[in-house]
Structures are given as structure tokens and as C-alpha cells.
Symmetry: C2
Subunit: 449 residues, 2 copies
């Protein structure tokens, strides 16, 4: 069932475009899902993409536009007139329409909204654009099926036939009172099973989960995932029904969130694809590398300070990469567990109890690893003192690294900063420096230099 | 709307349990969503959890059981008889029932299935248990609304009233021919809008996405996310309709997958929560740390081999943490981009073209960083030769690190191994060793030692 973009398909497409064979191209895309057409457009060159977008009818292209990669969509929108964009968004659900218009400059936004024929749609889009980024309001669509509690089942069915045409999927029917305040919900199933003369007020379910329009979108995603909801109504502070969020939007939020955390942990400062330009990839990669460079220079200065130790205990220096690596790895592990725990809301207890647990854990890991290292150095170098100094400092370094890795994300979270920033290069770099400093200090002390 | 577990709530609950006040406890949980009850059970001690499970009625506890954390559910199931478990799963959807029974030992599985009253349910569960882990079959539920193409709309509505009672949410109505082969689908909306004397064959949509029962679950997740599907029918090789997968199960697959990749990148070998025991956390953390230790010992041996260089060029040694950190960071960045690209199916082109792009990218990053490092060493140490040697080797080290980070996940993926394993400590450790070796070799060459 999966459509595959083959080289033959692309070659065929290119030659049809060159021949300006509109009929054949329209036919070629007729049975192709819009998500697949979007992938084709991501592949072909820009002129070809514009050609195809202008050729296909707006019912299809509007869906394609919502699926395109951001940078390609941006380029295509630049090449469409305000009227052409207005025609496209006229075919979209309000949430998609608002997302696309939101990507334009303010001045173009106004021109496009003015060019929309349907006044109600224009008003809906304006409303959606007014909500803050990453809020429930910015995620919701205005399309929903709404009935008044005073209606009968038969009257309700009649009216729903009208409303449902605009709604791609009817998850729930929302019941409101005369002030448009949300009072309950119904499923289509409830309605089909009910007798036609019953009143909505008698069959509605009063328990209905709703989110406030200013709720954070990640929080909405958490609620929907936890309670297995497929749609959730959005209300204002007075419980007036404003819109609804469907699970497919939440899937996107979850994916974006996961990608962001993963990239943060890997030391990438912005959302990049492997297909982005070298310049974009450099911009995403260089900042954290630069931090690593500064950290490395810090480590250099520390080691230079201990230069005098070299003559007698040269091997101490040869273990610095090991110490730095262990400090970095332990730090990343413990910060990742905290970051993930915070994201899933299962970090319980006080910061202190967390730190005590991490200390025990790091000590346990550290001692196991240190015993191994001790045996290696002792057997390989034959110096029990050096072996003892290096392995004991390893234990302390691991404990400190674990504590830093645990404390920093908890601290950031308490201060309202995204703790995910504390994983990856940030923790690796700071732990490298602290690790090496502690290592030389402890080793020097134990060896009595 | 969100239920919060407060200390007062827990204290109140504990004292009610002590007083054996069943009525008050039942009342306490009456309005609480099963997902929230599950969270309460994750918090209280084990005897209290068992007490609550046995007290509440099985319609509610069956839902609670599906939401509990694995380790707690395992303990609770151990304390229930086969008959008690059979009663619980009797209330569940078939997919949840199969998941829970699948967690039991084979011998207990059989006893529980025997204890299920409903023969059809028992057969369904047996069938679901027969599909391989991580396949569409293991994910699907048997509950769905199925109609034959020869029926009329009116007859269909009548029968759906019966079928729909067992189905939590009717996403699509699947249309089959007389051999139960999937031929199309309908929405409830289509049915409501149609005239009652029409035949299903005349109003069905023939385009229906379906997945094979042996399809990989991550692939199913990708398809559903890409095409914005809320449910997808599952068929066997002969296109016979077997079950359906709903989007809420996919949300779980996506979350698990994202968590797994994140933990892999952070150097955790198994799925752990911050609340797991120190022993579990140690088991998850120690393996990669041990790898890091081995890598560190490798770096030690390499550096010892270059010991002779120290007298004249001591500062070379002080830059090894910097070199190792940069090699590690670059490796993690490039492997993370590839791993994520592979997961999102947007790594296109040959391995060679990827490697060339990475080489250019790493060279660009490397040169920018090397210029900075050159200036620092030149100014700080006053030796232009050393500065040149260290900074040129940094460029080479970064390029090699980028190539390793790009090649390893691509290679693993080609061999059918999860490329996510190549991020984090694996790439850091191997790049540490290669980085330090290359660094000393190049520096020695440039300095003519």
C-alpha cells in the first residue's frame, strides 16, 4: 500500500513537465495520496514543484502544502500571490490554514486574510493566529460538531448532517448550553442508539475532559496520551467552547518534542535534517562544538598547572582521556534519566533525595569500575600507589559527575528552563573540566606530591 | 481537569484502608479516571494496591491494570488467581487482554485462557498471542465494526447498533465480501448521510489503507502518522480482515521508540525510570560505562606509546582531552542526524554521497574551530609550530570523527541492526581512541619528531 518514489517515476515526471503535458501529469497524481505528492515535491527541483502546485486543483494542493517540508513550503508560498494562497487555505481545516498563514510576514498575512472570500473562515483564522505559540489555542481547529442541550435527538441528527460536512472526522459531538458553555459530550454511536424523541440533555455524558485555550501544547499531549483521548475540546476561562484538538496534531507535537530532546542530547542546536544544506548543518553543530573547544582549553590549562607531576607520575596524564570520558558518560546518563523523568512527570521526591540516590548509584558504579581499573594499572604498571590514586579518584570523579548530571537539569527545571539543554555537550564539557581537576587534585593528595 | 495526587489524598487513603472502610474507598475512587487510579497504585505500597484492586469492580480495575507500570502490574498479577485474572481480562479490549496475558508464564497463560468464560474472547486472545512481538498482529485488537457489501444502509444501521456496543470507538466501518476479504470502508457519517435503501456496495469507499498482520509496528506507526490515520485495518496475506489498530496504540509505540532512542544516545542499555531501584539503574548504566573504561585504557596505551614526545612538546598531551571531546561530540552529532534521518525515512542518496557531504561539513566546522585553537595556542604558548601541529590535527580528527559517525549507523542499518546503538557512548569511545591516535601521529609528523 505504500507509495514508493522511484527514479523512473521522477524521470517520467520531469519529461512530462518538459513536454508541458498537463493532462498526463494530472492523471499521474490522481491516485496518489497528498502526503506522497508532498514527498515527490520535496524531491524535484523548485520550478517543477511550483509547476505541479499550480497545475493540480486546490483541494489537493492545499493538503499537499500542509505536508511539505518547511523550507520548501516557504519557497513555494513566496511564489504564490496572496489570492492564490487565500484559495489554498480556503480548502484547509482552520488549524492548518492558521499554521500556514502564520509562516508569512505580517504584511502578507493581512493581505492573504483579506483575500479570503469566506468571512467566517477569515475570522476563525485571525482568532487562531492570536493565540501564543505552543498553546492549545495555536493547535486547535475551529471545526467541530456542536449541539445545544435543548435539542431532540432527531433535530440533532438533522443538524449534524449539515455540520459534519465541514468536519473531517467526527470524534465527539460537543453539547453546549445557550451561552455556548461546554456542558457535555455525545458520540455518534450514542446518538444512533438513542430514541429520536429523546432530548440531548437526557442522554449527554456530563464528564468531558477539556483544556484551556492557553494550556501548553505539551501538557495537552500528555493529557490526551494519558487518558487515551482522540479529541479534546478547548474552552476559554469561562468554559465557552472555542475549538477542538485531535490526536493527529498531538502525534506531531510528540514527534517534534522527541526529536528536539534527542537533538539536544546529541549537541544540535536547531532542528536539522540530514538533507539540509551544509550551512544549516554547520549552524546547528558549531555552537556546541565551540563550547567543547572552550572546555578543552580549560582542561589544557588545568593539566598545564599540574605539569610538575609529570616527571614522576607520567601515567597520571595518560589516564586523563579515560577520566574525562567516564565523567562525561556518567553525567549524560544521569541527566538523561532526569530529563526523561521530568518529561514523563515521574520524578518524585525532593532534589535532596534524588541527589542521595544518585550518589549511592554513582558510588556503586564507580567502585565496580575502579576495582577493574586498579587491577589493570597495578598489573600493567606494577605500581600499587599509582593504581590506588588513579582508581580512588575515578570513584570521586564519577560521584561528582553523577551529582552534576542530576542537579543541573533539576535546577533548570525549577527555574522554568527546559532541562533538556543540560544533556549532551553541556554536561559532557562541564564534567570533563571538573573531572580532570578533581582527578589531579585527589591523585596528588594520595600520592603525597 | 487534571487529577493531582496530593499527600492528603494518600494519607486519607491509607487510613481508610487501615480502617477497612470499603464504602468510603469505593466512593473516593468513583469519579477518578482509571489512568489516575493507576498512578495512585504506583504510589502506595504493594499490600494497599492489592487491597484496592480486589475492592474495586472489574470493569474499572481491568482498565487500571492496563495503565499500571510493568513491574507493579507483574507483582499484582502474581497475587491474583487465574480466575481473577480471567475476570479482569474479560472486561478488556482484546489487544489489552492479550498484552496482559502475554506477560504471564506460559503455564499461567493457559490456565487463565481456560478460565475465560467467553469462548470467542479466548480464541481471539489466543490468536493475538500467536503473532510475533513488534508486529501489527501483536498491536491490533479484534474489536471492529464489519459489514458485508451486500447489505442495505438500513440493515447495516440495525446490525451496527449491535456490534458497536463492543467497540469503544467506531472510527471506520469496514466492508468485506462474502469471504471476509476487505473491499472498502465507510464512516458512520457516510452511513448517516446515505439513504436507508441504498446498498453498502454503492456507497463504500474502495480506497482503504490496510497493513499486513506481520508488518513491523514501527512501520505501522510511520504509515498512520504520515497519512493521518486514526485507525487502520489489519489483513492477512489473502486480504482477509483480521483486526484493526487505533491511533492511541500508535502514540504508545512512538513514545516507546523515542524513549528507546534517547536512552540509547545517553548510554542506557535498558528502559529505566528515575524511580527504579539502584540495582536496575546500575544494570542499565554499567555496560556502556565499562565500554568507556576500556576505551580509556586504549587511549592510555596510545599516549604511553608517544611518551617520548613529552619532554619537548608537553603541551601536546595537555590537549588530549580537547581532542577526545571534539572527536566524541562531532561523532555523536553526525550519527544522531543519520539515526534520526533513518527513523524518518529521509536519508536519501548513496552512502558515498553522504560521506562526501559529511566530509565537507566536518572540514568546514573543523577549520573554523582550528583557526580559533591555532590563535589560542600561538598567543598562549608562543610557539607557532606547536600551534600549527595541534590545530591541523584537530581538523583531521574532526573529519575522521564525522566520517565514523556517519558511516557506522548507515552500515549497521544496511546490515539490519538498529542504528541507534551507534550513537552515544559507542561512537564517543571509538572516536576518543581514533581521535587521540590520529592526533599524535599527525602532530608528530608536522613537528618532525
Amino acid at each position: 500500500m505504500v507509495f514508493e518514489i522511484t527514479n523512473e517515476f521522477l524521470e517520467n515526471l520531469t519529461s512530462l513537465i518538459k513536454a508541458n503535458n498537463e493532462k498526463a501529469i494530472t492523471k499521474l497524481f490522481k491516485e496518489v495520496h497528498y502526503a506522497d505528492v508532498a514527498e515527490v515535491l520535496d524531491e524535484v527541483n523548485f520550478e517543477e514543484a511550483i509547476y505541479i502546485i499550480k497545475l493540480l486543483d486546490s483541494e489537493k494542493t492545499s493538503e499537499i502544502l500542509t505536508e511539505l517540508e518547511d523550507d520548501i513550503r516557504e519557497k513555494i508560498l513566496k511564489n504564490l500571490s496572496a489570492q492564490e494562497i487565500a484559495d489554498e487555505v480556503g480548502e484547509m481545516d482552520t488549524d492548518d490554514a492558521a499554521d500556514i498563514i502564520g509562516e508569512l510576514s505580517e504584511e502578507r498575512q493581512e493581505r492573504v486574510i483579506k483575500a479570503i472570500d469566506d468571512d467566517e473562515l477569515a475570522a476563525d483564522i485571525k482568532e487562531l493566529l492570536s493565540y501564543g505559540e505552543d498553546t492549545a489555542g495555536a493547535l486547535m481547529a475551529k471545526e467541530l460538531v456542536k449541539v445545544y442541550e435543548t435539542w431532540t435527538v432527531a433535530g440533532c441528527m438533522r443538524r449534524i448532517r449539515g455540520q459534519a460536512k465541514d468536519v473531517t472526522r467526527v470524534h465527539s459531538i460537543y453539547v453546549v448550553d445557550k451561552e455556548d458553555k461546554l456542558v457535555g459530550r455525545l458520540s455518534l454511536k450514542d446518538l444512533i442508539i438513542a430514541k429520536s424523541e429523546q432530548h440531548i440533555a437526557d442522554i449527554l455524558k456530563v464528564k468531558v475532559d477539556a483544556v484551556n485555550v492557553n494550556e501548553d501544547d505539551e501538557e495537552v499531549a500528555k493529557i490526551m496520551a494519558k487518558y487515551d483521548l482522540e479529541a479534546i475540546p478547548v474552552v476559554d476561562d469561562n468554559n465557552v467552547l472555542l475549538g477542538r484538538i485531535t490526536i493527529d496534531d498531538i502525534v506531531d507535537v510528540l514527534k517534534e518534542e522527541a526529536d528536539k530532546d534527542y537533538q539536544m542530547a546529541a549537541g544540535l542546536t536547531q532542528d536539522v535534517d540530514s538533507d539540509d544544506s551544509i550551512l544549516d548543518l554547520t549552524k546547528a553543530r558549531l555552537p556546541w562544538l565551540f563550547l567543547g573547544l572552550i572546555g578543552g582549553i580549560g582542561a589544557f590549562i588545568i593539566m598545564e598547572g599540574f605539569q610538575g607531576v609529570f616527571e614522576k607520575y607520567a601515567s597520571l596524564f595518560f589516564f586523563t582521556p579515560l577520566i574525562a570520558a567516564m565523567a562525561g558518560n556518567v553525567g549524560v546518563q544521569s541527566s538523561a534519566i532526569i530529563v526523561q523523568g521530568l518529561a514523563n512527570d515521574d520524578v518524585k521526591g525532593s532534589i535532596n533525595s534524588r541527589l542521595i540516590k544518585e550518589m549511592l548509584l554513582a558510588a556503586l558504579n564507580g567502585i565496580i569500575l575502579a576495582i577493574f581499573l586498579f587491577l589493570f594499572v597495578w598489573i600493567y604498571e606494577g605500581k600499587i600507589n599509582t593504581a590506588l590514586a588513579i582508581s580512588s579518584s575515578l570513584v570521586i570523579v564519577i560521584i561528582v559527575a553523577g551529582l552534576i548530571g542530576t542537579f543541573v537539569p533539576l535546577f533548570l527545571d525549577k527555574r522554568g528552563i527546559d532541562p533538556a539543554i543540560a544533556t549532551g555537550p553541556f554536561i559532557t564539557t562541564s564534567n570533563d573540566i571538573f573531572g580532570i581537576l578533581i582527578y589531579f587534585m585527589i591523585a596528588k593528595m594520595i600520592l603525597g606530591i
